[in-house]
Symmetry: C2
Subunit: 397 residues, 2 copies
Amino acid sequence: MTTVQQAEKFVLAQTQDYGTETVPFELALGRVLAVDLKADRDLPPFNRATMDGIAINHQAVEEGMNNFHIKATQAAGDEPISIEDKGLCIEIMTGAALHASVDTVIPYECLEIRNGQATITVDTVKKGQNVHLKGRDKQEGDVVAAAGQKVTPAIISLAASVGAAHLQAKKLPRVMIISSGDELVDVADTPTPYQIRRSNNYTVKAVLTKHAIHADILHIPDDPAITRKQLAHSIQNYDVILLSGGVSMGKFDYVPKALDELQVEKLFHKVSQRPGKPFWFGRHQSGVLVFAFPGNPVATFMCLHRYFLLWLNATLGLLPTPPVYAALARDFNFTPPLQYFLQVTLNFNQNAQLIATPVEGNGSGDFANLADTDAFIELPLEHSEFKTGEIFRVWKF
Amino acid sequence: MTTVQQAEKFVLAQTQDYGTETVPFELALGRVLAVDLKADRDLPPFNRATMDGIAINHQAVEEGMNNFHIKATQAAGDEPISIEDKGLCIEIMTGAALHASVDTVIPYECLEIRNGQATITVDTVKKGQNVHLKGRDKQEGDVVAAAGQKVTPAIISLAASVGAAHLQAKKLPRVMIISSGDELVDVADTPTPYQIRRSNNYTVKAVLTKHAIHADILHIPDDPAITRKQLAHSIQNYDVILLSGGVSMGKFDYVPKALDELQVEKLFHKVSQRPGKPFWFGRHQSGVLVFAFPGNPVATFMCLHRYFLLWLNATLGLLPTPPVYAALARDFNFTPPLQYFLQVTLNFNQNAQLIATPVEGNGSGDFANLADTDAFIELPLEHSEFKTGEIFRVWKF
């Protein structure tokens, strides 16, 4: 059977490039930058007062002066005002640009102002104090956010600052989410005692929403002709198909046969993991990828995070983010020869160590715990006893 | 001066309750549940086959039988089919409901099927194997997600399963984001050499978007009449006003005066912190709250995360989430008598300990680093030397 590591390799070998597109910067949250975002001028673009007070030439202080005649008041945004001699000062506001003739700002708190004269009331005035020097943060042409970074509120701030009203972002795949099975009824419908409501499509869609993808959803009944027709349509119109259900060995699982008929090449089927053992992955010659997750909600949820999002991040060229590790809060045994993805809650102890507390489900169909847990901890296939304090990788959801 | 702890207390004392509203479950991502979400029936609602294969009565195995006549095939969603004697079995599909006369499922992998007879090819068959028992995850009426939980994809899944097509969510505050200052031009405009582009409004809006709030934004010029008029309008039409800029001691800072005239009571002004020392917080008699952040982007960003989001979570009744702690990666000194919020990158070491690496900015106006950092680490006011390995609270952004 395919191991988790092999499955990961197969999936990452199918990384695609869907190109780039222009996105208004305010709508780019969560998108991945396709090109470096550069400073259009120095940041700050001028020697900038960081306090309200007076601007002086520090040499005056060095020469023992502590009393200055206020020549003028300069607001932020005003053209800088010069002083012609060291006995003068400019009353200056936060954000204003200093003229080359002044280099130091003394805040109101350290001044007494009377009759147009400002007197320093403190002992020490450091040269250059309360001045944010031109180009100190970034110089014109410097990269302020790199290609491959995910657009955060901070990057939106930088985009605004450097005048990038539009950003070049990596194009997202067009995703169709499909569930199948006659036992599944819609949320608003009343199931018979032997049916359940379908939930996987909505879960998958919600996870994708968090990753800036607006996917379509579809439910297919257990009918071979409809299954084939709908899958063919999706292959024509989407880049990725995320299926849930219909991939086990059941007599009414028409999905694998339809995919085969539609020439979707199986890259693997079944992974030595729990949940998610029946996970099927394939590729159409057109490049369309099919992630066929098992029908049970926890399996779909795990595979989506462990495989699809990994593939998505690679496809979008997202810069690698450091993996998350946690220490087991208690001993845990798992004997089947499968890599186990155990649901855990996460919290930090007083030593800043991330602690994973297992919340045991009742088999892979138990998704009720997902609402109260934070992550899957990945317990290696090679072991069956896992001890308190042992460190493993976790996949937050 | 107000300490960070006092400021936090003042802010949390103004927690509001904006009531609840009904939200379609697919659109509820990120909202806070106002009432418990309960199971409308047992989960699972019947004894559910978790593998494809045959369903038998385990007593048959106990009595030494290993060969069964297939009475019928039952798909998921079908009415359960009984067996009248132990020599019979039902060919059953994953997700199907077991009849009371069968209790154990043997998967195809452990069977040989020929001429309507299924023969077990393995030595051990455990009673109840591959059956997910009715009510094992949750019983009818059990809480599947509690009031105060933030709606995650997992909760959307549960909502779908229990037929909650609409959820009761806490109402969000109506938020107006306002910047001020004539030195600020719009993103698409070309600034003079002494102006900069405004960015704070967009940053704040993006952070709020991540918290499901769609806020309005507005820029006010440095004009006392317009400032007053616009603030009055916002007080009438919003629950919270988030200001940035215009709250220092500058001559053109018309905001404090306008707020005073509009009878917004100042609850504190200036906090012993860096960045964000000039932070102003007040309340109108109508209950409208005004968070007036300093104009520099890092200060606004920090105060938004440290105070506003804290207030928002309390206001929405969000269940407390465990705080995040990290260990300093290197020594750091900060002598001013202020609580310092240092920008850091975060990563886990091999011991699953969260490590915070300081990225020193160039004063509080330096927001260029925000794109490359992950959090603020909060360094207590009482100390000025912070050593490698010491643990402090971090505020992720």
